[in-house]
Symmetry: C2
Subunit: 415 residues, 2 copies
Amino acid sequence: MKSFVNYAPDSDFSIHNIPFGVAVFDQEYIACCTRIGDIVVDLATLYDYGYFDEVEGINENVFEAYTLNEFIELGKPVTNAVRVKLQELLSDDSKLANDEKTKEDCFFDLDKVKMMMPVHVPNYTDFYSSIEHATNVGKMFRDPATALLPNWKHLPVGYHGRASSIVVSGTEIIRPKGQTKAPDMDLPTFGPSKQLDFELEMAFIVNKNTEMGDSISTEEAEDTIFGMVLFNDWSARDIQSWEYVPLGPFLGKNFGSSVSPWVVTLEALEPFRTESPVQEPAVLDYLKFSGNKNFDINLQVYLQPEKGTECLISESNYKYMYWNMAQQLAHHTVNGCNVEVGDMYASGTISGEDPKSFGSMLELTWRGQNPLKLNDGQERKFIEDHDTVIMRGYAEKDGIRVGFGEVTGTILPAK
Amino acid sequence: MKSFVNYAPDSDFSIHNIPFGVAVFDQEYIACCTRIGDIVVDLATLYDYGYFDEVEGINENVFEAYTLNEFIELGKPVTNAVRVKLQELLSDDSKLANDEKTKEDCFFDLDKVKMMMPVHVPNYTDFYSSIEHATNVGKMFRDPATALLPNWKHLPVGYHGRASSIVVSGTEIIRPKGQTKAPDMDLPTFGPSKQLDFELEMAFIVNKNTEMGDSISTEEAEDTIFGMVLFNDWSARDIQSWEYVPLGPFLGKNFGSSVSPWVVTLEALEPFRTESPVQEPAVLDYLKFSGNKNFDINLQVYLQPEKGTECLISESNYKYMYWNMAQQLAHHTVNGCNVEVGDMYASGTISGEDPKSFGSMLELTWRGQNPLKLNDGQERKFIEDHDTVIMRGYAEKDGIRVGFGEVTGTILPAK
């Protein structure tokens, strides 16, 4: 496949990608869109011009919307058909290639649009599915000899997070205030968090509503997953470590999470399937799966101080995940918990074995003991005010590249 | 105040109450409503007949809706004015008292309507604010000598729950399946929960959207709370105890929660304010409050076997809460976490000191050690298939009674 749109060979947004998002065009008009290279394509206008007339199941302009939810809910047969149609339309010598009027009205330079939150998120769950991350945290906060808790290898541990504070890349995050208690103090004190951290994660988005009592098997799970985004689960370690017993993370997490604006479909990621880590002991039947359910997605984290350049601080990969998405969704629904269109399910911090692949400052600096050196000699134990954290992700194989772009967030001082 | 509608002296729905809900009328038409005695009043039609013309701030028919969210979002000045107007209209000798046509079109016998979920819940949080409950659980699952964890008296511990599975009273709940591990086994097994439980709770509902970074002080909190419902936080203890470390309850809770259909406003509860338990050690400044922030609300739990009569199994009171709603909301937002209209914040299990006031089977039977005897001699350690759990709540003082009606749920066998 080759597109009539020119883009750099290392663009995340090749003709093989065709992600979906929501943009503000001309500072006022909002619609669903896709992206190729640095061109954002207004799908609502493309629909109005009749380019989706042949796609079965799309009977009204679902792109004329503030979120992707209505489109996603059409299900895989329709959303896949739209993606394939877009690949055809964006290819050399297509009808669209020679339709100057439509291109003028539907194609926008990236710097002329503002990306919005791609979906409305009714429910958000965060898993804890990287064995390296769970082991690192266990070593630091509990006993190094028994770093993994007894349940960890039997089920994908997860918890419900806060949906209201999930925001799109570029949204500034205000440093949270809260209660913390230093180990050497008798009483807690109140103030801005001193241990603000990121967590390198990815999240998947669900495309249907189920009834309470219904379950989704590992075999059915991927048909229920529309696509994935990069996810930064901002965390205040000092607040979290004081509050989290016995009911889990709360104010240490719910002040904000950032997602990348482009949802990359599972179909675009198909060429990058890879094997999972061996699961030993064997899992219970409802968690068994067949085929390659992991994906080889390169992930990077950069830290950019207010004055200074981006510094690469972590290189990880989604393929390290011990528990895959199919298992996560099967586990989440095995008790009959219902899911809703737009639900977001995050992976948990994605760390690998190599210390350079750890997905949080907590792990990279080993709880602040070994500060990171940035390009200009500055040091960081945790994230400081006006620092920007940038996460990027892409898959690449046989000359095909499909990427997520980035999720960025800058920390503002506490109010 | 006296109403032209006749109702029993012990009705929860006196002229002093005027709660809000959503009903299906004539099996097809859905609208917001109030209730007096056993009469449900269709507020959308009442609006169309001009009875709210004098209420400032209500400019369109917000009652013509599937949820109360739009009405609630109008804020206290408007929702209070509507409630006061309804009290006036439902009083003896009002204009409405003599308007037979309007009464015929707007008044429905309770058994002719079906109550729906009163609000759409964007976010749900469950607190853990009864000191007796937290102590009981700590004694059972951890060390009796240190039953309360170190943070408990310093902050209202809470966690995010699952919004998608909150359902209205009367909805059947399917027994969840899941992983459990018996203490004497090496490996977990899979199957229907054998320790299904209720939790007697109340929840409050928020009436505004805040921005990320904003906080709600204890002084501002009550203006942000529209009203309260009864809340049954169904729990599968065997699933919960295996999964909950280190990130909190998940599948042990998210298969279903039940709420009463009528939202009782804070204004209706005003006469029943009472003192809080003394908080010692003193709390941090942002958790300090003035005035009586607790409410004296009698609570009962009944268990009804498939064949058999209701059996009273718990009598508790909302006034036992160590942490009040104002403190819960101030804590939840002190880090800048944003809230949304319709958000539901549950109290956690409401237990008192007397073992008869414990708010869960876990506590009432002390983890199954002391089974409860029902009226007909049957015994229960936990909730069995086809059992119905009924929770009721009301406040009463100086001849004034304001109640919540009931929240019921019947357990169906696992699928």
